[in-house]
């Protein structure tokens, strides 16, 4: 049986560094995955992950438990990714391969379906990478992670309307890009 996350959170709030280290170890893969999707660069994603974990440690005392710990941590990650990606935008080249997803185990049963899905995913990954940073962030948080527009607006410090508009534009652009690549 794994460690109880709530207990680890409580201990972390009291300043128990080991408990927070355990929490971080449990969530680091998910945080890194979100970071890779948001920034599209694995090196920068590693920086985002580390920065997010450090910020989470500093802010754990303010975590009230209104949402789950993971949701709270993802919010910090999205915020850090938004900031760091903005800073790094002119310094680094964009890695398209970071968006390309691997076939899942569930696809292996039907090779034809698996092939189609893999192709669609690859095209979708490339299309996502082509989107503007602001649009890609909203698509990933809304369509991949299922956040509400309100949660996105809070994490990115934008209005709910801006979040909706970005998603609308992103969907239009994605559709265009998928059409071009098909």
């Amino acid at each position: 049986m794994g460690p109880d996350v709530n207990e680890l959170v409580d201990r972390s709030r009291d300043g128990d560094r080991e408990a927070f280290g355990e929490l971080a170890r449990l969530h680091q893969h998910e945080v890194y995955t979100l970071a890779v999707r948001l920034v599209g660069d694995r090196t920068l994603a590693a920086d985002v992950t580390q920065e997010a974990l450090i910020r989470a440690w500093r802010a754990i005392g303010r975590f009230r438990g209104d949402s789950s710990f993971s949701t709270w941590l993802y919010r910090i990650t999205a915020n850090v990714a938004w900031t760091l990606k903005g800073r790094a935008a002119r310094q680094r080249t964009y890695q398209l391969d970071a968006m390309i997803v691997q076939p899942q185990a569930s696809d292996r049963g039907n090779p034809e379906v698996a092939g189609e899905r893999t192709e669609l995913r690859a095209r979708l990954g490339a299309a996502l990478a082509e989107l503007a940073r602001s649009q890609r962030t909203v698509v990933i948080l809304k369509d991949v992670y299922g956040w509400s527009h309100k949660e996105i607006s809070e994490a990115l410090s934008i209005s709910v309307t801006a979040s909706k508009v970005r998603l609308h534009r992103a969907h239009l652009r994605l559709r265009e890009l998928l059409k071009e690549s098909s």
Binding site: G15, G21, A24, R25, Y32, R37, I54, R58, V144, L167
Partner: protein, 132 residues
Amino acid sequence: MSRLVNRAGLDRVPRIATCGLTRLVLHGAESGGIDLPPVMERHRRGCLTCQVATARQRRMLAELGAMRTQVEPVPYDMTAGLEYPAEVGGDHPSARRSSTSRRTATAVASAVSIAAIGVVVLARRMRSPSIR
């Protein structure tokens, strides 16, 4: 009706739904954000092109949703940075709380001292003759 139209991002209720107009709001309808006005919904049900566009939209959203379960393994232990408290992790809220309370106590003590000095100065002035 106007609320429905507003939610669909349109200025007014379209009398005739076209493929272009329907596809413009299709993604919103598919992701659950808006309701299609009835005239557009009827058009979508009867139009093969719009049905294909709907299917494509649904596949795209399904694939995006499926990405949620795919996890990228970290290239190295990301928690290593947390091992050095003095450099990065030392600023824990509990530590910060104590330093904040210390700062507050210092500020209050300073304010009290200044007030006391002020009272003494005032008392001396009141004791001295008002007209010299």
